[in-house]
């Protein structure tokens, strides 16, 4: 007993005093990959990190799609005890940079040739003041529509390519007593559906003006009203119990044939495969009706920390994250595709390969767009202001014209 207590005490004290002398690369990594599949894929990174002599300290904080992690991060940075690396994405990388707390990764990027390895639009998200300050992990596509192949065959419908087709397919399904759209009524899921509808109805240019540039005339336009009209129609395609449902339960409804479609990013694929379903046979994937490609890129930003071992840890981590082996292993598990150009895709399924192909096409014709719903397009305050309106409209009987007015007002007030 006494020995045990002594053991604890020494463990605690060594922990507190750890990291004085250079003991090889070291990284404390704040992230929210805590589910079994994610953890296993991230474990591959840890193994690689440790094989290169590094020490990995894990700081996982799940919940709210990273909200809890951001809370922890803020407290850590304010207390002058920033983690070595943190999972941050989209414009918040530059927001953190503007606070002067991020480290510079340019030398790693130069040595590794990130400029040629990463698509320009993704590379731009990783740069602060022209220099690399974050490393991309993957590219999730958000504008996916998933379907139960069997249900579609029975109903005699194809994957919809326009929203009008979707609506008429949904009416057929309703007539058969099948829920057309499996949906979870959480604000971020409402926003996910909304942005795919906006992209489909308004097109890529409209999307960019509205949700990247925050062009007031576009936000208040008739097209935006049409987007809300379509949301109102889709409200009729979900079951009455959708409120608060987790996205994976919505996926389960598609898996067991209770519902036909789900609009969700490619992480949903993991639920299908975990249930033993195979893509193309049991379930179908396609981009949501309309042109364009909405991406959601997970990335790691490095914080300015002291100590040679920590800095070495950051550089090693950045190098490995963009490395081919991690990009392959991680994305195979996560459902996303590698951010690194030229990663062999032969182990990936056809949904992933289509995603990679579409991304290339989209980046060629200016329709590769950041997802607003997943924090890639706007700062949190602005994205949140839009989501408030979207979710309030979807969950009430608000008129589309009022929603558009509320949207403009909310953006004006969002700083």
């Amino acid at each position: 007993m006494r020995q045990k207590i002594l053991g604890i005490v020494t463990a605690v004290t060594t922990f507190i005093s750890a990291g004085t002398a250079f003991a090889g690369p070291e990284a404390e990594v704040l992230h929210w990959w805590t589910s079994g599949g994610e953890a296993r894929s991230a474990a591959a990174l840890v193994a690689e990190f440790e094989a290169n002599g590094g020490t990995w300290q894990d700081m996982p904080v799940a919940g709210g799609g990273g909200d809890a992690a951001m809370q922890a991060l803020r407290a850590r940075v304010l207390s002058g005890n920033a983690p070595t690396a943190a999972q941050i994405k989209g414009p918040s990388i530059q927001e953190w940079y503007s606070q002067g707390v991020l480290a510079d990764l340019d030398d790693v990027a130069k040595a590794e040739g990130w400029d040629t390895l990463l698509p320009a639009s993704i590379a731009n998200h990783m740069k602060c003041g022209g220099k690399y300050c974050a490393a991309p992990v993957n590219v999730h596509r958000v504008d996916w529509i998933w379907a139960n192949a069997d249900v579609l065959a029975r109903a005699g419908i194809d994957m919809p390519t326009t929203w009008a087709e979707f609506n008429s397919a949904a009416k057929t399904l309703l007539g058969m007593g099948i829920i057309p759209l499996a949906h979870g009524g959480q604000a971020w899921q409402d926003a996910t559906v909304f942005e795919t509808v906006a992209l489909g109805i308004g097109g890529p240019e409209f999307f960019h003006k509205a949700f990247v540039e925050l062009d007031m005339s576009v936000l208040g336009s008739d097209t935006m009203e049409a987007v809300f009209d379509q949301m109102r129609i889709m409200r009729g395609f979900v079951d009455p119990n959708f409120s608060g449902r987790d996205w994976n339960l919505a996926t389960a409804m598609v898996i067991n044939g209770e519902a036909a479609f789900q609009i969700m990013g490619d992480w949903a694929k993991g639920e299908f495969t975990a249930a033993g379903k195979s893509p193309g046979k049991d379930f179908l994937c396609a981009s949501t009706p309309g042109a364009g490609y909405l991406y959601n890129v997970d990335s790691f930003a490095m914080f300015a920390v002291k100590g040679a071992d920590k800095i070495a840890g950051q550089k090693l981590l950045a190098k490995l994250v963009v490395g081919e082996s991690f990009q392959t292993v991680f994305n195979l598990n996560k459902g996303s595709i590698p951010a690194r150009i030229g990663t062999p895709l032969d182990k990936f399924d056809y949904c992933a390969r289509q995603s990679a192909y579409d991304m290339e096409v989209a980046s060629g014709n200016d329709s590769l767009l950041p997802s607003y719903a997943h924090g890639m397009a706007l700062r949190g305050a602005q994205a949140g202001a839009i989501t408030d309106v979207v979710t309030n409209h979807f969950n009430s009987d608000m008129k589309s014209s009022d929603a558009v007015k509320a949207l403009v007002a909310a953006i004006k007030d969002s700083l």
């Binding site: 922990f15 589910s35 079994g36 840890v46 700081m59 803020r74 983690p83 993991g270 639920e271």
Partner: protein, 299 residues
């Protein structure tokens, strides 16, 4: 005086007044409410014993087809709380390392504060008490960020000692309140007599007040232990790799956003994480009521 009112038995008169039929009614009502109260625990327990397949296909409110304890094992030592997959076990230790000193310190300090505020009043003592009490009502989200700055300045950011400090500080209001209200019921004459006999401040505390305070210690310790053990907000904000408490680990298991959910493991983990506080309430519940009876109730 304290002990006159602490007759732990029930009021004896009612059985003369309430006829048998009504008593059956009372039992019925109590059982209905007990069912309402047990429902969530029932759902958690049964779910933790089911296989994932059974959960996917069946209703949440149904008995498990068989008893499958594997989720419990996974939750305890194998579930992934991040890159590491060691279950809740290592985090339980952290929680104990945080809760035990924090409960002990906040209770002791509360006891002596309560003693001062009830029997050694000075000008402004009531104001001080009021100000400390008000601290109980501040929503904790409000003080997260300034707290982070201060912890950084003190050099205890991310450490167990930092978390202990936070819990002690925000527990003081309640512990002081409990002890003060308890000690108020002790007659002033006792202290006066002791002072005449030459006993000092600490002497009176040790030899008169401490021996009297077992019931209120129980109440305070239960209250504090529950609060601190269940805390998530402070735990997630002021910890770092290696010091995260069990609630954070539980949250990592339960609240992952883009992964496949294992509800049986979630539930087993939830019950495991709650076991210490549950045990405290079940084992010490009787003393809790007694302690409250003995004086904490008098507002």
């Amino acid at each position: 005086m304290v002990n006159k009112k602490s007759s732990a038995g029930s009021i004896g008169f009612v059985e003369y007044l309430i006829p048998k039929i009504q008593r059956i009614g009372i039992y019925l009502v109590l059982v209905v409410f007990a069912a309402y109260y047990l429902m969530p625990l029932f759902v958690m327990l049964t779910t933790s014993l089911k296989s994932l397949e059974e959960i996917r296909t069946g209703s949440f409110i149904s008995l498990p087809r068989g008893i499958d304890l594997s989720s419990w094992k996974i939750a305890w030592s194998e579930a992934c709380t991040g890159v590491k997959c060691q279950g809740l076990r290592p985090y339980m230790l952290n929680s104990f390392l945080i809760a035990v000193p924090a409960v002990a310190i906040s209770t002791m300090v509360g006891a002596i504060n309560g003693y001062v505020l009830s029997h050694w009043k000075f000008r402004g003592a009531n104001l001080i008490f009021g100000m400390m009490l008000f601290g109980c009502f501040v929503p904790f989200q409000v003080i997260l960020l300034p707290m982070a700055i201060v912890l950084g300045k003190l050099g205890v950011a991310g450490s167990i000692s930092g978390l202990v400090l936070v819990h002690v500080v925000y527990g003081l209001g309640f512990t002081t309140l409990f002890f003060r209200n308890y000690f108020v019921t002790v007659s002033d004459e006792i202290t006066r007599a002791a002072k005449i006999d030459g006993a000092g401040f600490f002497r009176i505390f040790y030899s008169i007040f401490l021996p009297l305070s077992a019931p209120i210690f129980v109440v305070t310790i239960i209250w504090q232990f529950t609060q601190i053990w269940n805390d998530f907000l402070f735990g997630v904000s002021f910890s770092q790799a290696g010091t995260q408490p069990v609630t954070v680990a539980l949250n990592n298991i339960v609240n992952s956003t883009t992964g496949v959910k294992q509800y049986n493991v979630d539930m087993a983990a939830a019950i495991l994480a709650a076991l210490p506080t549950l045990l405290v309430y079940i084992l010490a519940g009787k003393y809790f009521i007694r302690g409250l009876t003995a004086g904490a109730v008098k507002g």
